[in-house]
Symmetry: C2
């Protein structure tokens, strides 16, 4: 099997032999964006809060501390009138699901929606989260290929848990999505958030931690403060992921919530093997400090944590990528993702090395996500739905 | 060649065939400690500052936020009277240099000495750094196998540069040692520190960044705040290293100081390959943001940065360690270190995998450090000096 099948011709990219002709693809990081945050949410905001938008002129919090080229979007996926990408389901279906023959797409919202965790105003943040979820239920679940994440204002854990109880009744909601960096400098491992993990576990929702570069009520993204470029801030995503994962594992979150499932989304994974080696080694030497841990750290990771692939690790040689996956200690960790519609999109057809085994490719492209998110075998035919680019 | 030559017998560890019988060893992380910080330094503190100790009762800053088992020391290297390890040159020679037949030991001071960077009182910190260096020159350089690091109060860069000018005249001083986490939340990549890099470059001193778990005027060691255990704080050392290295490379420090050499000491290295892949990838995509970089990030790293080995990465299989070293992209990155006298000491005889090539082992055990620090071929006979444990 070779899934590197894109071929360039004089007319540009042809996608005749897409991986979907070989294998199903579950895309675990597809962004669904607002056209206008405040206006899109206004109909879903409770009467007693509407004046925040209508009179308070709330427009969302513009917290990007860096200029992103093209606003962070792919050049080729805007609407025909130039408006933003991924702002409605039809657009996502046409530009992405159909084009690549995606079996399932897991929607992860955008940076604005996730930033609700970084608002100082707890109650307003909880209201915005609730409105975002109602907006998503109304607008984003009208296709059998689509599953959606819900957002919560995690700085207000009891309200967040109630919101999970409320929204999780909808079968299209399969994940609670949170920014990787914890709010207000209170690490995700802090018992403060236990009501959220308890609710997610109760409803069998995955907790997804997605990179989020924004400021607000949150510590800087590195231990050396704010990087001076978006390039550096991008590379530094892996730092918050390591910071939080150490705490989540070592503080015993998975002992307290043995059914909890955590997806690390767009956080990289090249750093993971050596971090686990180090945690396991220190656990052997210093476990007296953490008597609540009954197993070594890597065993908790293997049972509870998965990683999405984008932005794919890109070593010098494809063989090193396979070695790296081997170093992770399990072939069940990785779940494929594209990050559509963002600029650093990973193509389903070009992201895995040609030398990968069919078994491992199948697990990464769909099998691991299917098992982790509990997705049923698709009844929709993903092959015939993707004719857009066929010639 | 097989350097895993320790053999257990009924009488315990025998060290008959130590690696020194095969290859020279340069140990790049040997700690020289105070017996009593304030009292040891008192003779070296200028007259106008002595009252800080004699009347202000300054005793050093007790900033360890965690309990370390045995204070962080090996059980077996205390003095016979129970006093702390590594507090004088004779002890270090007997317990370490002789025992392992070390060709060169690079002294890196202890956590107390490095913490001078985290004092709010800039001038007092500069005075303590100066006293520490004079104390080291008087007490720690009386053996041809020993080289020493100097300390500076980096939060006061002009004074630090002057101190480098003053101390670097001594040929035994080959490194300026700093804590990996930058002082006061001002990243090491900030131009504020340029006078220090300029002085180190001028005197051909390596700048060594050594882990330092202490608090004081410094940001927390993770982006999620302070870990709740020493185990986690230990594993999190790698986080500050990544945070600072991204900035040092991307801000163009090595363009401004093309002869500057940086040793990452006790910061791990398993995280390094994937960080370089990511930085190189982002540099290809976003280099317009950093026009001062003329080469890709990994090229700066290869020319300017080295890593000490302890605490050695310990994957499931020795083969994975060799793969990891291959992923680093150069066999010149790693420099052996033991961390004597600390609890997580790496033995020269047992730290490298048996399957390593003789050429790579030689580079890691001595060749890379010899070249990086510019150490001359030893005239002292390291073989006959190490009879302590021979039977």
């Amino acid at each position: 099997m070779n899934i590197e099948t894109e071929q360039r011709t004089a007319s540009g990219l042809k996608l005749k032999q897409k991986c979907r002709s070989d294998m199903p693809v579950i895309d675990c990081d597809v962004h669904n964006e607002f056209t206008n945050y405040a206006q899109d949410l206004l109909p879903y905001v409770s009467r007693e809060w509407k004046h925040y938008i209508t009179e308070g002129l709330f427009r969302g919090v513009a917290m990007r501390p860096y200029t992103l080229w093209q606003g962070g979007y792919r050049d080729d996926v805007r609407s025909e009138d130039g408006s933003p990408a991924a702002v409605n389901l039809d657009q996502v279906k046409r530009q992405h699901l159909d084009q690549w023959g995606i079996e399932y797409a897991i929607l992860t919202h955008g940076v604005t929606a996730l930033s609700v965790c970084y608002y100082g105003q707890y109650e307003w943040a909880s209201e915005l989260a609730k409105a975002t979820n109602d907006w998503a239920l109304d607008n984003w679940l009208g296709d059998p290929r689509v599953r959606c994440s819900m957002v919560v204002a995690a700085q207000h854990p009891t309200a967040a848990a109630k919101e999970i109880d409320r929204v999780s009744e909808h079968p299209g909601i399969i994940q609670v999505i949170l920014p990787t960096r914890s709010p207000g400098g209170v690490a995700w491992c802090d018992p403060k958030y236990d009501p959220i993990w308890k609710a997610a576990e109760r409803h069998n929702l995955v907790v997804g931690f997605h990179v989020n570069s924004d400021a607000g009520n949150v510590l800087p993204p590195t231990t050396a403060g704010w990087p001076r470029s978006y390039l550096e801030a991008s590379a530094a995503y892996v730092i918050a992921a390591q910071s939080e994962l150490i705490g989540i594992i070592c503080s015993g979150v998975f002992e307290r919530f043995p059914q909890l499932k955590v997806a690390m989304i767009e956080n990289g994974f090249g750093w993971f093997p050596s971090l686990m080696w180090r945690l396991d080694k220190h656990w052997r030497e210093l476990r007296a400090e953490l008597p609540w841990l009954r197993r070594k750290p890597s065993e908790y990771a293997e049972d509870h944590i998965r990683f999405t692939t984008q932005p794919m690790e890109e070593p010098e040689s494809p063989q090193q990528l396979l070695q790296l996956i081997d170093m992770m200690g399990s072939d069940e960790y990785l779940m494929f993702s594209t990050d559509y519609p963002h600029w650093n999109f990973d193509s389903p057809a070009r992201s895995l090395p040609g030398a990968i085994s069919a078994d491992l490719a199948e697990k990464i492209l769909s099998g691991n996500a299917r098992a982790f998110y509990g997705l049923p075998a698709a009844r929709h035919d993903t092959r015939t739905s993707g004719a857009a680019l066929d010639e």
